[in-house]
């Protein structure tokens, strides 16, 4: 079930009303209901993969208890490794098995050995596997590092692992935040629900109007890049940047908004990354739940930035490579990760990786300074360039795409694949950027305007825009579901 489907718009009110009107007096029953709803939500895609979520839940529930039970560091570590091996094993099999086999065959071919692999399997990728495995692992890690006590409430824990708003594409929650809310009584809050509905509306806008409207253009340009001039290729990468942002942050907003309806606050995953002033700031604003996961559970255990410059550089390189690999079983993602490591390390060495941590562009003024505009444009250009690797089906395609900038420089007007007027899209992007700038200080309040009438007009314009750009013929699934 996807958020932007008819099924979800029937499912959500039913679950919401039952949750608050029928079951509000009993926390346990509420949690069981959340669990069943989440399993129904996930099983709508493919009920067979529910078994994987259930297995992951059982393993980490037991591992958590075992880690806590033992005081011996070695035994605790062994139990932690149980969780890592199991969850990474699931990922390795379902997500990376064919990649490893194909890479092995390619490597042998490079050395002159022609191997015909019979090992490649037809494996379906379970939706959201990269998200919930990381979430359950974080639980084991947190208990191991003594940041958290394990729960003995199996059903509550199962509801934490499978909580439907964030199950398939995050935010990747930490048990310290989400599990504690699930295990404690929630009370209905009108303000929280209204805030959730606003976020759902804003998320749908980003998905339907920004991501889905740009998708056919991006698909066309990346599929036929060799026939287009540099101006169109440039537009392709800029539009893809907005598409992937609209798609993923739109999903996150809907997830956070939906959770609010159930009295649960999820962590922020996006804080206007398009206004980042350097690559380090970008990573503090883009897919925050994953970046912080890698920071907490890989970067810091490896020594972080306190282990000397060389080791720090090594650690940065590791987390970016792993982050790239997390996105998918393709060299393009690894290359994308490596590219980001290369552009991040100079910022780190200059000591500018945390200077923008607590401020936003135009922090104390209405308009940004020219310097800030330049910084934002440069960062956006770097990040968008890296997305050529992210979007291309193969490394050779990515380089061929870049090569076309040189072999076919120049400008030619671009025709929308369905013949729509391109001016609409340029205006759309411009208005979106301006609006995001206006709300840049609080990602949780996209409609923070003083007057009710202004807010209402904006709601209606947002909904009208969704109708104006709605396309019944396109695939409406979210990009990050494939990860």
């Amino acid at each position: 079930m996807v958020f932007n489907s008819l099924g979800f718009f029937i499912f959500l009110p039913i679950v919401f009303l039952t949750y608050w009107l029928v079951l509000k007096k009993n926390l346990k029953v509420q949690n069981v209901f959340l669990l069943l709803s989440s399993y129904f939500f996930y099983g709508w895609w493919d009920w067979r993969f529910l078994s994987l979520i259930f297995l992951s839940t059982v393993v980490d529930y037991c591992v958590g208890i075992q880690i806590e039970k033992h005081s011996n560091a070695k035994t605790r570590k062994q139990w932690l490794w149980c969780s890592i091996v199991f969850n990474v094993g699931l990922l390795a099999f379902f997500k990376y098995f064919n990649f490893f086999i194909a890479s092995w065959v390619d490597a042998c071919a490079l050395l002159g050995y022609d191997i015909k692999s019979k090992w490649t399997l037809r494996i379906l990728l379970p939706v959201g596997i990269s998200f919930y495995t990381f979430q359950t692992m974080s639980y084991a890690f947190d208990i191991y590092y003594k940041r958290l006590k394990p729960t003995t409430d199996f059903l509550g824990f199962a509801a934490f692992v499978s909580f439907f708003p964030q199950l398939v594409a995050g935010p990747i929650e930490r048990a310290s935040n989400l599990l504690s809310q699930i295990l404690n009584k929630r009370t209905f809050s009108y303000e929280q629900c209204v805030s959730g509905l606003k976020l759902i509306l804003w998320g749908l806008f980003k998905k339907v109007v920004i991501a889905d409207a740009l998708a056919p253009i991006v698909d066309d340009i990346f599929a036929n890049y060799s026939t287009y001039p540099a101006s169109t290729l440039l537009m392709g990468i800029v539009f893809f940047s907005f598409q992937v942002y609209g798609d993923f942050s739109g999903y996150t907003d809907i997830a956070i908004g939906t959770s609010k309806l159930f009295g649960i606050e999820l962590m922020s995953n996006f804080k206007f990354p398009n206004f980042s002033r350097n690559v380090a700031e970008y990573w503090q604003r883009w897919h925050i739940s994953l970046s912080t996961w890698f920071r907490h559970y890989i970067y810091i255990p490896l020594g972080g930035s306190r282990a000397g410059k060389l080791k720090s550089i090594r650690n940065i390189a590791i987390i970016f490579l792993v982050s790239g690999f997390w996105h998918g079983a393709n060299w393009t993602f690894i290359f994308w990760g490596a590219f980001h490591a290369l552009v991040f390390i100079p910022v780190f060495l200059m000591g500018r990786n945390t200077i923008y941590k607590h401020t936003v562009i135009g922090q104390s003024s209405v308009f940004p300074s020219f310097l800030e505009i330049g910084q934002v444009l440069l960062t956006f250009a770097i990040v968008s360039f890296s997305r050529i690797f992210f979007r291309s089906p193969s490394i050779s395609d990515a380089f061929a795409y870049i090569g076309c900038f040189f072999t076919n420089p120049g400008y030619a007007p671009y025709q929308h694949p369905s013949g729509y007027r391109m001016l609409d899209y340029y205006i759309l992007i411009a208005v979106f950027v301006i609006y995001e700038y206006l709300i840049r200080k609080d990602e949780r309040q996209p409609f923070k305007f003083k007057y009710k009438a202004v807010r209402f007009i904006i709601y209606t314009i947002v909904i009208m825009a969704m109708l104006l750009f709605y396309d019944s013929n396109i695939d409406r699934s979210f990009i990050y579901f494939q990860f």
Binding site: W20, C193, L468, N473
Partner: protein
């Protein structure tokens, strides 16, 4: 909770009102002319109405229609005489031409090429061959004054029936319920952009759950079914021309031979049915001949079709 439900309901209502306003102010959706069945049993548009036809979410195609006193979209009235040279175009939505301004129709284009000829367009969305022949038959006196009648025919779509009768399904659209629903512009807009498709699909999916599932068929079986259907369509054609009459000296079919099976083309040749083939010229065009959002001919496509008819006229007819 009560406050949330009440306020959500209120906001929903206000939002719908605002959206209705936007759709009306920016004219984002089409107007629906009303239809009726006249005293001769012919289904057509109610005379003397005007409005706008809109296609796409963002008014990608916007055109004006004008229904004349005969009940068809045209810039002129239909008053054929014995003296003038007159052509009639009879057909479905392609001839009706709601997708272009009514003063830029195929008939008008033909008149530009043939200044001494008057062209009357009897186009109505959904007309099949039974509708067309019944219309000509019902208005025999009028059509007898017209020198040549061009009848649009799409073999795969237009020969399902062997006799004319009013399609009640289509006339249901004139029921008070539908008429009132169509007054809600946001609803017609939502329907036209496909927003209501998931609801409709879900309902039909639920209704079809109990229905028998069709089994997959082999290519051979499909070919057999297709051949049977084609034979039936040809039989229907024969029955229709026998039932309503067909003047081979004055009636000419307009068809796309690329989409017409050879068996029917052979039949037409064998029995001396004349036809204008628009397929080659449409296919040879380097520019698109249909609208981008819709399969109907665009202005360029209509120019080509008009030229095909003009060329046929010049090559074959002189004033009787």
């Amino acid at each position: 909770m009560k406050a949330l439900i009440l306020k959500s309901g209120l906001y929903l209502l206000l939002t719908l009102v605002a959206l209705e306003g936007y759709v009306r102010v920016f004219h984002l959706t089409k107007d629906y002319p009303s239809r009726y069945v006249d005293v001769k049993g012919v289904e057509k548009w109610r005379p003397n109405q005007s409005g706008f036809s809109v296609t796409g979410n963002r008014r990608q195609n916007f055109s004006e229609y004008h229904i004349n006193s005969s009940g068809f979209n045209s810039y002129r009235e239909f008053e054929p005489t014995q003296d003038a040279v007159e052509l009639a175009l009879v057909g479905d939505s392609f001839i009706e031409g709601f997708h272009q301004n009514y003063y830029n129709s195929i008939g008008h284009k033909i008149e530009t090429h043939l200044p001494d000829v008057n062209v009357y367009e009897f186009g109505y969305a959904g007309y099949d061959f039974a509708d067309e022949l019944h219309l000509v038959h019902a208005y025999k006196d009028l059509f007898d004054n017209i020198d040549y009648v061009f009848l649009g025919l799409k073999f795969e779509n237009d020969l399902y029936r062997d006799a004319y009768h009013v399609l009640q399904e289509r006339m249901k659209l004139e029921s008070p319920l539908y008429k009132n629903l169509r007054k809600i512009k946001i609803l017609t807009y939502a329907q036209s952009i496909g927003l209501l498709d998931p609801i409709r699909n879900a309902i039909s999916h639920i209704l079809n759950l109990s229905a028998k599932k069709t089994t997959s068929t082999t290519t051979q079986h499909k070919q057999h079914i297709e051949a049977e259907a084609h034979a039936k369509y040809i039989e229907n054609f024969k029955t229709l021309i026998t039932r309503y009459g067909y003047d081979k000296d004055r009636f000419i079919l307009v068809l796309d031979t690329a989409k017409t099976p050879q068996i029917f083309l052979n039949y037409l040749k064998r029995y001396n049915f004349d036809y204008v083939d628009v397929s080659e010229d449409l296919k040879a065009s380097k520019r698109p001949t249909t609208l981008i959002y819709d399969m109907h001919w665009n202005n360029h496509g209509r120019n080509i079709v008009a030229k095909c008819i003009v060329s046929y006229y010049n090559n074959n007819f002189t004033k009787k």
